[in-house]
């Protein structure tokens, strides 16, 4: 590990150590934050008890569907906009301002259209996450070095093989950052929707525990959600690394 890596590990360990010590000595009241070790303990207990299995599977399947739809849909739409510049010019201001729009205002409308249940949440999260993928796709395709395209023409590559061998690999770093954002935004969309407008799911259970001052459950569930998000990001990151190494970067 590099020097920076060692320091980073030290900083993180020191941070959690300090929080742990402050909580255990009572400087930080357990009404506010419970000790990190207690959070882990609570998470393990909650998972072992199976009490929240239904909520977990509901939330994760919603996130999974929203994520896949937004990644595939965002990529396709990004490519379409890239090939049709007039369309893209029209939608540019919309895309740029998209993430400051209050999406949850449209939730009642979605309920009327799609009915109660997981469906409106999935649509909401997909709409929320897709634009990140569209923008990443556009960014990636825009930044393909000119020289690579010239090389492709020199080698007389057909369009499919140009896309497969030149365009996609060159745009890959941007596509991956879009992928990571789409995952995060799917989580935000589903969990925020469950917070305010649902009667089941992890987001609802977190809000329910918060309302009941049940800090152990709340922190346990929060930690669980964060762990899943982090694990997924690390997997994408590791794959990205491997890809970069293959190319000798």
């Amino acid at each position: 590990m590099s020097k920076a890596g060692w320091i980073r590990t030290f900083v993180l360990v020191a941070f959690f150590g300090t929080v742990e010590a402050l909580c255990r000595t009572g400087v930080i009241s357990p009404k506010l934050v419970i000790a990190p070790s207690a959070m882990v303990e609570s998470m393990v207990e909650l998972l072992a008890s199976g009490e929240f299995n239904d909520d977990i599977s509901q939330t994760l399947s919603s996130v999974g569907i929203a994520m896949s739809l937004s990644i595939v849909g965002g990529f396709v739409l990004g490519c379409v906009l890239y090939w049709l510049p007039p369309l893209r010019r029209t939608f540019d201001p919309f895309l740029a301002a998209y993430y400051s729009l209050p999406h949850f205002a449209f939730y009642p409308l979605l309920i009327v259209i799609f009915g109660l249940g997981a469906m409106p949440l999935i649509v909401l999260a997909t709409l929320f996450a897709m634009v990140a993928m569209i923008m990443a796709t556009l960014g990636g395709l825009d930044r393909i070095p000119r020289v690579l395209l010239k090389t492709a023409r020199m080698q007389r590559l057909s369009l499919p093989s140009e896309i497969w061998h030149i365009r996609l690999p060159a745009a890959a770093p941007h596509l991956f950052s879009g992928l990571k954002l789409a995952v995060t935004y799917s989580f935000i969309g589903v969990i925020a929707g469950e917070f305010i407008l649902s009667t089941s799911g992890l987001g609802h259970q977190i809000a329910f525990a918060y309302d009941n001052f049940d800090n152990a459950t709340m922190y346990g569930l929060i930690l669980f959600v964060l762990c899943i998000a982090i694990t997924f990001n690390l997997l994408v990151f590791a794959y990205e690394r491997r890809l970069a190494r293959q190319r000798g970067l």
């Binding site: 920076a4 209050p102 205002a105 987001g203």
Partner: protein, 249 residues
């Protein structure tokens, strides 16, 4: 002529959205979606009402404070981390990690730490906005062309002159891009913060309207916030493009 050209995209988009809105209204009916014209009229009336103003002020204040914290704090931390190579290397992966977390899950924690009310919204908004500002500022400071610095030293500039004539013009375009992204995310964070456990503000009005299924109010607030977001974003984007063009020349 060029003015008409540059306005054509946004105009087309506005017309498209209005038409889509009208069609959706015809399809879904008044209980889900009121027609565009009555809604805009209602919005205009709502802005004029006395009971509306305190909510607008509350949200505006929360947003302004969060933005100030995110902007000033982000640039400050970014300059420090960019100036000191090792601490930058230590901090960057941690920051990127926090950036990609679904922060909405942390909102109950923020509520416990800051209590109900203004400070929790400000903290949640600032938490969303600060990290992109830090990341962009850090990279801007890190990537200042060494030749500029050497030239400055050759001309024996004082540190103040060095900052004013070299560092600020060299880093400003990137920092501004960070601030633009920070602006959108801070707005998102503040709005999300107002949706849960809030007693005042536009987000609170929105939630009450959702509970009552008061479609006109829901749409009016959504349109109002969207208009603000799109307008602010377009202005910032225009400044951003101008700054970047200046630096490229």
């Amino acid at each position: 002529m060029t003015a008409i050209r540059s306005l054509r995209g946004p105009l087309l988009l506005t017309v498209t959205l209005l038409v889509a809105w009208q069609i959706l209204h015809q399809w879904a009916g008044d209980t889900a979606l009121t027609a565009p014209l009555p809604t805009l009229e209602y919005m205009w009336n709502m802005i004029g009402q006395k009971r509306f103003l305190p909510h607008l002020v509350e949200t505006g204040l929360a947003f302004a404070q969060a933005l100030a914290i995110a902007g000033l704090g982000g640039v400050g931390i970014g300059v420090l981390l960019g100036g000191h190579r090792l601490s930058g290397e230590v901090a960057e992966p941690i920051l990127v990690g926090i950036y990609s977390l679904p922060k909405i899950t942390l909102y109950p924690v923020i509520l416990l730490l800051f209590g109900l009310g203004m400070s929790a919204k400000v903290a949640f908004g600032a938490l969303h906005g600060v990290i992109p500002v830090v990341l962009f500022t850090m990279n801007a400071v890190r990537n200042v062309n060494r030749t500029y610095l050497r030239t400055g030293r050759a001309m024996r500039l004082t540190p103040a002159q060095m900052g004013w004539h070299i560092l600020i013009p060299a880093t400003l375009p990137e920092i501004f891009t960070g601030l633009r992204i920070g602006f959108s995310l801070t707005l998102l964070g503040t709005m999300l913060g107002e949706l849960f456990a809030s007693q005042r503000g536009l987000g609170f009005l929105l939630m009450t309207a959702i509970d009552l299924n008061d479609v006109q109010t829901i749409l009016s607030i959504a349109v109002l916030i969207s208009l603000f977001a799109v307008a602010a974003n377009s202005i910032l984007l225009a400044i951003d493009r101008r700054l970047h063009r200046g630096s490229a020349a």
